[in-house]
Symmetry: C2
Subunit: 225 residues, 2 copies
């Protein structure tokens, strides 16, 4: 029979998977809302975000209580402390999906994304979903190899981000400053979502191997010009 | 006589103050480099950032070891767990100063900030430094009232951020898309630096009062239009 301690640990793991599914759904709906001018979808992401925040708060508290009451050994403590970081990253991913949904809502009934940028934004959305699917699999299975695949996929997000700037800076850009600002912020939101996915993957590697991965890249920062 | 445990806790607190001073210096140098086209200052911020990352890693590890070895009671555990969050926020503040320095370097020998935006960027820099000074004081003195003053000051950062967008969207904007992208990203970096300062302040309130403050605002998100 399992003991209560490990049942609780499993339960926290399951809630992490649920939270990951929530921020996946938020990103999927936000990207669709953005590309299709779907106001209801955008509103849904916005109204659901407090549930992600509540999930974080609940997981943080449960994790804290487990550390306080159970005085876990180093290996279990590593899992619990990493959980505290994971939930912070997952909540932030939800926030970034929320920001994307807000751009969609702000521009409604217009569509925020100009035609010539649809492809690149659509691809950024696809990479974001593929990343978060891998994150869920990593959390469930603690698959270190998959965590490494996430890093490679993050590189493709960075490439799409560079492509976005190239399109914005082309001589053909005819959508004005407001649209350029929207697209700059959107690009940043997708890129940061991917960064946090990588951060989650790195934390799981740390849980499994006990080795701290290289410091997480802190976003690409500026790279135009 | 103090015991070793509390000496170690004090030592972690002192290192947190040191780390706060580092991210303050980074922001001060980055803003000066940005406004004056000071390449050496920008390079200094960029080359010093790994020290901030190393400080985080060291503090995380020391905090983890204290939890593992000392099995602290709930109150002390709350301080230690909050420390893990604080160092993550502080490291991120260092990253944001780094991003600002990189914009300064990328545009050198030009100055990235157009004349009509100098005032607003200069003020954002000043608010950022004032915030981080208060954060240091909060960490040192655990002054809950000062933590609340930080929230008010964050509102003035948000107001400056809105003013920046108003200027970018004015009919007089004559600096093209590339500069608009630079300024959009810079505005976001200053605003996020402030957000993380608020997050640190909220964590300290949590340490002192045991009450979790309202969920941290997740950046203003888009608000143009």
């Amino acid at each position: 029979m399992r003991d209560i301690y490990h049942d609780e640990l499993d339960d926290i793991g399951n809630t992490l998977v649920t939270m990951t599914a929530m921020v996946r759904t938020a990103m999927e709906r936000a990207t669709n809302a953005l590309l299709d001018g779907d106001l209801a979808g955008a509103e849904r992401v916005i109204s659901d975000d407090p549930q992600v925040d509540a999930q974080r708060e609940d997981l943080e508290e449960r994790t804290f209580q487990m550390i306080a009451r159970q005085q876990p050994v180093a290996t279990d403590l590593r899992v619990l402390v990493s959980t505290l970081h994971l939930v912070a990253d997952l909540e932030r991913m939800g926030d970034l999906a929320l920001h994307i949904a807000k751009v969609a809502r702000m521009r409604y009934p217009e569509i925020a994304v100009p035609t010539e940028l649809r492809d690149v934004i659509s691809q950024m959305g696809e990479v974001a979903l593929s990343l978060v699917d891998k994150v869920a699999a990593v959390i469930e299975g603690r698959d270190v190899a998959l965590a490494q695949a996430i890093e490679v996929e993050d590189d493709s997000m960075d490439a799409l981000h560079r492509k976005l700037f190239t399109l914005l800076l082309s001589d053909n850009w005819a959508h004005g400053t407001e649209s350029a600002i929207d697209m700059t912020l959107l690009g940043r939101y997708y890129e940061r979502y991917a960064d946090h996915a990588v951060a989650v993957a790195r934390r799981v590697v740390f849980i499994v191997t006990g080795q701290r991965p290289e410091p997480i890249a802190s976003g690409m920062g500026p790279f135009i010009g």
